[in-house]
């Protein structure tokens, strides 16, 4: 039972990170109908910037708590600028181009960001340590440390904040309007370009937070870290119903749980025939099964027959 409880905690922590990154995918998709494949790399850049800023601030004798806060803010600011630029350079000129054109530029942006990061921060792994110790708490037989608790709480707060923003602010209303019908929104006086920029910046700020949290949790950063994380988060977004904010959260947490329970129990369930090496297979099977029965994901709206 302790083991099971621990697996749930593992899944929740991992799932919270997926959810935060998935939000970035889903917001952009909801408004533009576009998969921002470069989003995973924005997470990586966020982590790298946070690392550099944290080291510099600590070296400048800032108090640890301030250093952490400021480095996170710097990372968010840089990522917002990055997200804005990516949209302006790689996506906006292609707004009326065939649908796959921005997909290719997104892949191009990914490759560029990855290799830029490699040139700036080097090929090796870097240590990412918070300037205070993270104590472990024993909950029954299971263990959870401060950073992990922090991740789950921050993820929850951000999700709540985002829901509020989308449903109760002017910007949020404009975003929903553009998602619903861009032409009509324009006629109603919504500045589509501004809304799209804001969306990208918001998503990128979340990516920076996610990058920070992942790095703090695992203690290492590397220029290659964004790819897998982005892929998993994208899967999570689709599982929940891409374009739907609640869906991204649900999908993220579910994927985290599926992975940890899958890796933990798949061997016992299949009598040792399939082991934890089939963890991803298990996750994809669940995804395919969900999509076969609900072709728009768990919380996705039923699409009109003509997409």
């Amino acid at each position: 039972m302790d083991i099971f409880f621990q697996q749930i905690i593992n899944g929740l922590v991992q799932g919270s990170v997926y959810a935060l990154v998935a939000l970035g995918y889903t917001m952009v998709y909801g408004i533009l109908g576009l998969i921002n494949f470069a989003h995973g790399e924005v997470v990586m850049i966020g982590a790298m910037i946070a690392l550099t800023a944290l080291q510099a601030l600590l070296a400048a004798a800032f108090a640890p708590v301030l250093a952490v806060l400021f480095s996170l803010m710097i990372a968010m600011a840089v990522c917002m600028a990055l997200g804005y630029s990516i949209e302006r350079i790689a996506y906006r000129p292609l707004r009326h181009a065939p649908r796959l054109a921005p997909l290719i530029t997104a892949i191009g942006v990914s490759i560029v960001l990855q290799n830029l990061a490699m040139m700036i921060w080097g090929r090796e792994y870097h240590s990412f340590t918070l300037p205070f110790t993270s104590t472990s708490h024993h909950l029954g037989g299971a263990v959870m440390n401060d950073v992990q608790i922090g991740i789950v709480i921050v993820a929850l707060v951000i999700m709540a904040g985002l829901m509020w923003l989308v449903h109760h602010t002017r910007t949020g209303r404009a975003m929903r309007a553009v998602a619903e019908n861009p032409a009509a929104a324009t006629l109603m006086g919504v500045d589509i370009n501004r809304v799209i920029s804001v969306t990208f910046m918001l998503g990128s700020a979340l990516a920076a937070i996610a990058g920070f949290m992942v790095s703090a949790n695992y203690g290492i950063v590397h220029y290659y870290m964004g790819f897998m994380l982005g892929l998993k988060a994208f899967t999570a977004a689709v599982l929940g119903g891409i374009g739907n904010l609640r869906g991204a959260m649900l999908g993220g947490v579910l994927l985290g749980l599926i992975e940890s329970l899958g890796a933990g129990y798949i061997g016992d369930l299949t009598g040792g025939f399939l082991g934890s090496h089939y963890q991803d297979v298990f996750a994809f099977f669940v995804l395919i099964a969900v999509l076969v029965f609900r072709p728009s994901g768990l919380l996705g709206e039923k699409l009109a027959e003509r997409a």
Binding site: N115, E124, Y125, S136, G219, M225
Partner: protein
């Protein structure tokens, strides 16, 4: 209009290729013998830092030889390095191999991984170019019947055997859990470790898996925790080793942790912090401090490249020196002439006393075990192999 653009593009392409072609080195003075050594490994991608380390090791050996002045067949030799990026991709590896052959290299140091060394080896074999891999450990690499393939590193079977014996006989651990990263290296080493541990009377109570891209191992570790092993062996590299050992400790597990050569890196110590204390890792060969030239090598490496040795640089250094020794013996840098001499080379390298068996594997295959104590890798003991020349 369209056609003009294409023509322009074509011209550009041709110009670029032309640039590539003009890479040929400056003509040497007539009394000088120019010898080209190819180096191949991943210089981009997730293993780029280890690939670069290999290139540095090779470069140092070549620069040393040039500075020292080596005579081959009475002529003064000047060595040149051609380094290529194989991206850890088998297909790119064959392209790179073909390019090195085209460039008329006299020998190749590489590739880093087994998955690239094996497909590339057939091209070197067809063209009679000697290839010494500093780090490919798959048993198959030298078992393909190619007389051009050598390695200065123990293979998985040699290292796995030593690790298994050490775990069971020396440490006395009987209940063992094993994780591997499903790469050719990780899986190969883990399988050989399991064989050896079981042969020595241990029980493998859990076998779990991860990937070489993962950073979260809490799920498999938690599942292992329930089975309470005394030792966890991980077949994989340090990027996974660091978060794994951290998560192992943060889950409150007291299980001993052991890795192969993929774990014996300065990074594992630096990045894993307190969690790494007590971890075992192995490295083929004898400790650098034991060989007379080893300590000198590591100091010069750090001074020159402003970083500690990552992993296999010393093996690359040895590989080049084996090649040079064979050339000197044959009195020629012609691949066909010095190839038969490589197998007969006996050399005090920086990693071990080097000699090859008939397959091209390293003879004896000493493996040294290290333990992380007080933030440093400390030698525990060296198993097997020819006694080092003191």
């Amino acid at each position: 209009m369209l056609n003009r653009k294409f023509a322009l593009f074509g011209a550009l392409v041709i110009a670029l290729v032309g640039c590539g072609k003009s890479e040929t080195p400056s003509t040497a003075a007539s009394d000088e013998l120019v010898i080209r050594i190819g180096a191949a490994g991943p210089l981009t991608g997730p293993q780029a830092h280890i690939g670069k380390d290999n290139e540095y090791g090779t470069r140092m050996a070549i620069d040393d030889a040039n500075a020292k002045g080596v005579l081959i067949g009475g002529k003064k030799a000047r060595f040149e390095l051609l380094s290529e990026d194989d991206q850890t991709d088998p297909k790119t590896a064959t392209i790179v191999a073909q390019k090195l052959v085209d460039a008329k290299v006299n020998g190749v140091i590489g590739h880093l991984n087994s998955g690239t060394s094996i497909p590339a080896s057939s091209i070197y074999f067809k063209n009679g170019i000697p290839q010494i891999s500093p780090s490919a450990t798959a048993v198959k690499f030298t078992a393909q019947g190619y007389n051009t393939a050598f390695r200065v590193m123990t293979n998985d079977a040699q290292q796995g055997k030593a690790l298994g014996e050490f775990a069971v006989k020396v440490l006395g651990l009987k209940n063992i859990a094993v994780i591997d990263d499903r790469t050719a290296y990780g899986q190969g080493l883990a399988d050989e470790f399991v064989k050896s541990a079981e042969a020595n009377g241990a029980k493998i109570i859990a076998r779990e898996y991860t990937t070489d891209r993962s950073v979260d191992f809490t799920a498999v570790l938690t599942s292992i925790k329930g089975k309470q092993p005394e030792l966890l062996f991980f077949g994989g590299m340090d990027p996974q080793g660091v978060p794994m050992v951290k998560q192992l400790r943060s889950l409150g597990m007291k299980t001993q942790f052991m890795m192969g050569d993929g774990g014996y890196t300065p990074k594992l110590i630096d990045l894993a912090g307190a969690a790494v204390e007590g971890t075992y890792a192995s490295l083929p060969g004898v400790p650098l401090d034991v060989m007379p030239s080893g300590r000198d090598f590591s100091q010069r490496y750090e001074a020159r490249f402003k970083q500690p040795i990552q992993l296999y640089a010393p093996y690359c250094y040895d590989a080049v020196n084996v090649m040079i020794a064979a050339m000197q013996k044959a009195g020629s840098a012609e691949p066909a002439k010095y190839l038969p001499e490589i197998g007969k080379v006996e050399l005090d390298g920086v990693t071990a006393k080097l000699a090859f068996d008939e397959k091209g594997d390293i003879k004896g295959g000493a493996v040294t075990l290290y333990q992380a104590r007080q933030g440093k890798w400390q030698v525990v003991q060296t198993l097997g192999g020819a006694p080092a020349a003191h």
